[in-house]
Symmetry: C2
């Protein structure tokens, strides 16, 4: 019984290890060999031209020049000036928080992880938007969360659907995970009315809200989007990041949780990786200070131009019945096929036309949602590739819908 000489190391994994068996990204990239020059709309990252490399280089030199004595253990919550800076940043989203309310993280992904770690026992219920950010579910899966999916329309999370879920779910869900502003994957934003209604509902039911806000500053109109949910209640865990306004490779984000959770989150973080990179947090501070406002203004124009090109080419070329969103900010255009067409099937067809996207079904628990939608990220591609890719997708969709016309 106890002789296990040939037992593989994988013989006795934790239950949650199932969550680590599937990589969504490799599935999409694996289709790239069906065309000699595929255009991949799957990368939700800033374009290299929109990353302030020179400014970061300058800031890194400054941070490293001051590194003496700063390389010991320390700064569990993050470098205080950066914490003050992100508080200024959050005022742009309507949030009043002080540096002692903030924890600097390795990107907002780590914020999601720490909240899940603090809040979720196996089987605990969490409400997510349908569709929602894949990476958040990767994390919640690792904590064996049980999902309730709430529908989203072009005005954001549907209040009636949320109310029904809260009324009917016993036990009450612990968390609502939402991206209220230029949502991933749809690009949709919640109206002010819905924001107020959703915060009030969650307070009434004792549900904590995780507000993931990577795109809130990247708006294309003359006015900023509605203030963050965190501006309406301290019972919201706000997650911010420099990944979209600067670059994801630097891995710096932050969280502003309810104040009574902060001490516990700090200890949870200490167990996870002790603390963050001290010189990197200084680098980001020096880079952002007296620079990020102008930079964000430039990248708004940069991404708006990309959105315009993609929306124009899709609206001109897509067959009747296919909807194409026109996002007010962020990185994503969302299309939906009419019934009964499936974007899972379209993906394989489009791959032979040299264009790849992420099918909507992947943005649901178990990668198994309704196959109506598809996400196109225009953030990292050059303009000519966006135009060419949009044209290919329109052609592929037309060909797909004609060649596989359903029986009447």
């Amino acid at each position: 019984m106890k002789n296990a000489q040939t037992m593989p190391a994988t013989a006795r994994l934790a239950r949650r290890a199932r969550a680590f068996e599937h990589s969504p990204w490799s599935a999409a990239e694996g289709l790239g060999d069906r065309h000699p020059d595929p255009i991949y709309f799957g990368n939700g990252a800033p374009g290299v031209e929109a990353q302030p490399i020179e400014r970061l280089q300058w800031a890194a030199a400054r941070a490293w020049a001051e590194a003496g004595g700063q390389l010991d253990y320390g700064e569990l919550a993050g470098w205080p000036p950066l914490r003050e800076y992100v508080c200024q940043r959050m005022t742009l989203r309507g949030i009043a928080a002080g540096p002692d309310d903030v924890l600097i993280t390795n990107g907002s992904q780590q914020g999601i992880d720490l909240i899940a770690r603090l809040m979720l026992d196996p089987g605990d219920r969490i409400i997510v938007e349908g569709p929602t950010y894949i990476g958040a579910m990767q994390t919640f899966d690792a904590y064996e969360a049980s999902y309730l999916t709430c529908s989203v329309d072009e005005h954001g999370l549907c209040v009636d659907a949320l109310e029904q879920i809260l009324r009917e779910s016993t036990p009450t869900p612990k968390l609502l995970y939402t991206i209220p502003t230029f949502q991933n994957p749809t690009g949709f934003s919640m109206t002010s009315e819905r924001r107020e209604a959703i915060v009030a509902l969650c307070e009434r039911y004792g549900v904590l809200i995780i507000e993931d806000d990577p795109y809130g500053e990247i708006y294309f109109g003359s006015e900023p989007p509605a203030p963050a949910l965190r501006s309406l209640s301290e019972r919201v865990i706000y997650l911010g990041t420099f990944s979209k306004t600067m670059a994801p490779g630097i891995r710096v984000g932050w969280m502003a949780p309810p104040p009574d959770l902060l001490g516990l989150l700090l200890m949870a973080r200490e167990g996870a990786d002790i603390h963050g990179h001290r010189i990197v947090t200084r680098t980001v501070y020096h880079a952002a200070q007296d620079f990020l406002d102008e930079h964000v203004e430039r990248i708004r124009a940069h991404y708006r131009q990309r959105r315009d090109v993609l929306v124009d080419v899709l609206r001109a070329g897509m067959p009747d019945g296919v909807s194409v969103s026109e996002p007010g900010g962020g990185f994503f255009v969302w299309c939906e096929l009419p019934e009964p067409w499936s974007t899972d099937d379209l993906l394989r067809h489009a791959a032979t036309f040299g264009v790849l996207f992420l099918p909507g079904s992947w943005f649901y628990p178990d990668y198994a949602g309704p196959p109506r939608g598809l996400r196109l990220s225009y953030s990292s591609l050059p303009l000519d590739r966006i135009a060419e890719g949009g044209k290919r997708l329109a052609e592929a969709t037309r060909d797909f819908m004609e060649s596989r016309r359903p029986p009447r």
Copy 2:
């Protein structure tokens, strides 16, 4: 029932949140106000003089100069040249591993976290050394591990005690967490014979070994310590780090797990914080390449001198019956009081003499082990402070044992 407007955010935490309520460090530092100029032997970090700041500054400049195009998402396992470099590094510890067997982490603490995440369901058993590294238990606590404590003597983990635990524990523990070389907190090292016996025992029982090896290169004799456990079996998860040979604030370590766990660990890491700081991993690579061997040789002498001063002053001044170790490497001297004296009590007494240490009881599950030992870290203090602190501790111990002589 469902109206929860006044419910605090802490009302519905996960069970594991109990693990985040206690901070051992603040307890020790809180005693510092009992003396105008306390000497704190608790910091297990490199001294500032032993951190290669100038080399890191040079390396950072080089890494940032090449940063263009390197700030997107990517390099989940870590920058390939750094993975190759740590494989070279591991040959010094007798380990044969290739870059595809390695995952770069945010310090070895993140390696501990990822392994626990992959392996441990609540209540799963893990064997730890008694005493062991506090930070590892902070992590295992977050996964609701159930501990079995195995005794350690000056030749390392006791094989007979381990065998008894393995024979008697049903279910069999999943993991053994050990620091075989210059152990934290005792400074003791496992003999080659014990290494072989322990690896064989764990293979026989199907127990995976986590080998934490932050101090293996910091030896004081003419010969390196016995090869790592990972050199004896691929069923050992080896954890390495640059925190002690360079600086902890850069947060770069690595793991070499059993090859069949690597893919799962990569996905676990993606959910935790997506990936590491890309420029930091390049910085560490450039700094280490063609430099670290010489640097490590210098810091061996640096720490040996500090050990000598501390051991000499303690052996000269400590009352009869108090044992003082002479570690062959690493950062720690370990002392033990004779029965029935308690180092928990001595700590409060010593604080009034202006010297602080970490009591041995804290290095056990629930911070509640036998109060015989105490750990002194000589790594980060200047020589004169070490001498003065050792003198104070000897005086405090003498005074403590005389003033609180137990009834015969």
